[in-house]
């Protein structure tokens, strides 16, 4: 019976205008989005390579780092950003040393200067896969399902069908399966075409390690997400008696789940678990640095007053050594203070962000927007990875260069305790993207959540349909 009904619904669905409209939309939007994202990526990649090249030319020696350009670290664009542009235009893409001559530790300042290059893209958002899935496909799922049950109720055809010996479960399953195929076949076809196009143009995916895993996961998540909205549509349609109220209710749900609810989640989390902003902590760190340096300079001042005039005397040399100890002591104090601030910020941010995620995950939209950004290499994990790498690079620079280039104060002037080879090649920053396994682990809960949404919505639709009184 299910098969007969399924074939009937399938024929009906494929013969209808809706299937062709969905097919055309998918075949236009998805390849166009992927192509445009690819072009955007290539432009960013070209800019990144140019920036790295010029920087390498400008900083060939330690001397260039210390006295000319400072050290820079660049974040490369993500080749999988066609999945989701995510935070790529907003997160920092360059870090540079903020170093005052003779005053280690140097701090790596994170900056973003590609957002301004793409002002309109930042303004309107990109046409990436996540947009097509989260907006267009969920919208199509709603359009496809609002009348699935309510329409048949309204037209009276459901009454006729159910007056025969047709099991209700078979009826609903057949309807759901046939309509789901109408939605999924064009989507998967268009996606496959886009990926083939992408590979033909430059072997882009094959060159990225773990790309197929990420794409596979993204497709799974997209299909589950479309399924969740599809089943939500079935549920609302089964609960209502007319098609128009079903459509209005679905529309309001769509706006709430897509537009309003996720946007409020981070604000709610900030209210429940407040956390200082990075800019505030940066200010506090700068203030701490000033205070510590003031204390240190006062102590060195007192020491310098006791030194003899002759800078070559043993007492002066001993004084220089003591000065070094004082500097080290205060630097340790400063670094300890900074670490405590960073740790505190990190702990609070993690807590607040985890809470925001828990709240936001009550909407299936969250479980597609966030994971696709992570899988596209444009999410929080990639940002944290760049931050950690920059911190490590900063440590290397401090250890190998800045801490070996200190000032020593004498009674009548300033000397330099330079233990670094100025003509040596400076350390070079290398970027390693976040590991695919870590990303997959991070998005697995969203896969489970989407599966649960599918089950709950379908079960709800099933129960509502079974309880429908045909009289």
């Amino acid at each position: 019976m299910t098969r007969v009904l399924f074939m009937k619904d399938l024929r009906e669905a494929f013969a209808s205008r809706r299937f062709w409209v969905i097919l055309v939309l998918c075949l236009v939007l998805i390849p166009l989005g992927v192509e445009v994202s690819l072009k955007g990526y290539q432009t960013r990649l070209q800019n990144y390579r140019e920036a790295v090249r010029i920087n390498q030319e400008e900083t060939k020696t330690v001397n260039d780092i210390l006295y000319r350009e400072g050290a820079k670290a660049f974040a490369p664009p993500s080749p999988l950003s066609f999945l989701s542009l995510g935070l790529e235009l907003l997160s920092p893409n360059v870090a540079e040393t903020q170093y005052k001559y003779g005053e280690p530790p140097a701090v790596m300042r994170l900056s973003n200067n590609q957002g301004r290059d793409n002002l309109y893209e930042s303004f309107y958002g990109p046409l990436d896969l996540v947009f097509v899935v989260a907006v267009v496909m969920s919208f199509l799922a709603v359009i496809l399902t609002y009348g699935a049950v309510a329409g048949e109720k309204e037209q009276g055809t459901l009454r006729q069908v159910l007056s025969n010996a047709v099991p209700r479960a078979a009826f609903l399953l057949a309807k759901a399966a046939a309509n789901a195929l109408v939605l999924l076949i064009p989507f998967l076809l268009a996606l496959a075409a886009s990926l083939v196009l992408l590979e033909v143009q430059g072997n882009l995916i094959a060159a990225v390690p773990g790309a197929w895993t990420s794409i596979g996961m993204a497709v799974l998540i997209a299909v589950l997400f479309i399924g969740a909205f599809f089943n939500l549509g079935l549920l609302v349609s089964a609960l209502t008696k007319q098609a128009v109220p079903a459509l209005v209710a679905l529309l309001l749900l769509w706006v709430s789940l897509y537009g309003v609810y996720p946007r409020l989640s981070s604000a709610a989390a900030q209210i429940i678990s407040p956390c200082k902003s990075g800019a505030r902590v940066a200010l506090e760190k700068a203030q701490l640095r000033r205070n510590v340096q003031k204390e240190r300079d006062a102590e060195i001042d007192r020491l310098v007053q006791t030194l003899p005039d002759d800078e070559t005397s043993p007492a002066a040399k001993e004084g220089a050594k003591t000065q070094e100890e004082i500097r080290n002591r205060y630097q340790a104090k400063l670094e300890q203070g900074w670490q405590a601030m960073d740790r505190d910020l990190e702990v609070r941010e993690r807590k607040r962000n985890a809470l925001a995620l828990v709240i936001a995950r009550l909407s299936p939209v969250t479980s597609v927007i966030r994971p696709l950004a992570e899988l596209g290499g444009t999410g929080r994990l990639e940002y944290e990875q760049f931050q950690a790498e920059v911190r490590r690079f900063g440590d290397v620079l401090n250890r190998d260069i800045f801490e070996k280039n200190r000032m020593i104060r004498y009674k009548h002037g300033i000397g330099q305790d330079n233990q670094v080879d100025m003509d040596a090649a400076p350390p070079v920053f290398t970027h390693v993207p976040a590991a695919t396994e870590a990303v997959v682990r991070d998005v697995l809960p969203d896969v489970a959540i989407l599966a649960i949404f599918n089950l709950v919505f379908f079960a709800g639709a099933f129960v509502a349909f079974v309880r429908y009184d045909v009289r």
Partner: protein, 483 residues
Amino acid sequence: MFKTLYKKELLENVQNYRFLLALVICLVVIPLGFVVSQKDYADRRQVYDDAVRADAELRKTVQDFLQNGGLALRPPAVLGLLSAGVETVLPNAVETRGFVTQEGTQIQFNNSRRLDNPFTSLFGRLDLAFITTTVLAVLVMIFAFNAVIGEKERRTLAQVMANAVPRPVVIGAKMAAGSTLLGAAFLVGVLAGVLLTTALGIGPLAEAGTWAPFAIGIAASLVFLMTFFALGLFVSSFSRSSVSAMVALLSCWVALAMVLPKGSVILAKLVRPIKSQQVVELEKSQVRRQYQKDVDDAVEKLAAATPGVKDMSLQDYMKAMRAKAPAISGYAEAQADLRSQFAARLNADLEKIDAAFDEQRAGQAAAARSIARLSPVSCLVHVLTELAGTGFAEDAAWRETRSRYKRIVDRDIASKMDMTRFKNLSYGGAKIDRKAPAPKLPAGPVPLERRLEAAWPDLALLAIYGLLFFTAAYVRFLRYDVR
């Protein structure tokens, strides 16, 4: 007749679920959006104020400025609740880069930022632009989709038309009643939002100069709601059933709110590709380095060609310098002339690079904007963004700020850095009053006139779209065959 029909439409909408739904949504979403935006603004404002205080402490005198570099901070936009726009990618400040020399000051944008809350960036903000173009646009569709077709389906329109009722009055009454109710719900929501934020001490209107842009923003939102309602009436009078009207309206909305604006960026990028700011900055850096090399070579040549100096050892030169020998003064003056010539050339070249880049960017932005203006949704978002001071006028203003800051620092400090070099010796800088107050750049919001200048074409287009949609609905309605 109009009054009767207007009242009838009002009553019909008030009595069914729609008005209540609109009122509840406006009363919940708009105040929530206002509170979230204003709280965020209050936090950022506090950080900005503290940063300004720290900056004033750190850079009291010219000496401090030379030691710590210069900085002019950009305040956060007071009316970010209208539209967050591109504020997150605009520079936080302009600052000097490297040492200030007589060749001129290097000024760059400071775009330093951490991603404090990745979810806000991923999901977007609940500002008025989003609320109006998404949440309220959907409400408008719910109000308008069966305004005409519903009556056709129920055959009530045929009954009305059977009487001596002028058609313009019928469609005019529908338009007026729908706009009134939507406008009322919207204004109640806005009022609740303003009252709530004021009660919480984070009211947007407490700061000077915010009333006018806020009021214009609200008026523009009302015009948008009417425009969208007119579109709804047009689609409703065109459709064969309520359901198809709703689907068509939804499709129009997705196309106008999402696909067309995104498409405008794609097309603009294809038509007018540009370099990145990062690459331009690095190119400028290369130019400076080349100039520095040229200056050094020229100074060496000058020393080698100046009689009385060319054969001097460093020690002889220092002795002569202390004795204020005329040859040394002549050499120093000649070198200062040389340096100022090079500085003029360098600055002209750097300005040329900046101007070329700004022109390219402006070309791409103009292309994107022109295409996006085909959508009334883009028009409203542009108006609100410019009024909020989080848009393209603000970006342009900060490009000018960068040039202005450079002029100030060049005038007050760089031009007085009369450094002279001989072999490994560099000396000078005596003309600078190091105890004088450090140069400051008072940063303020873009004046309202300038924001309006940027916003008025979109505002006018919005009204024109409204008129066009209503005219189309009117014509279609007139041509409706009641039989």
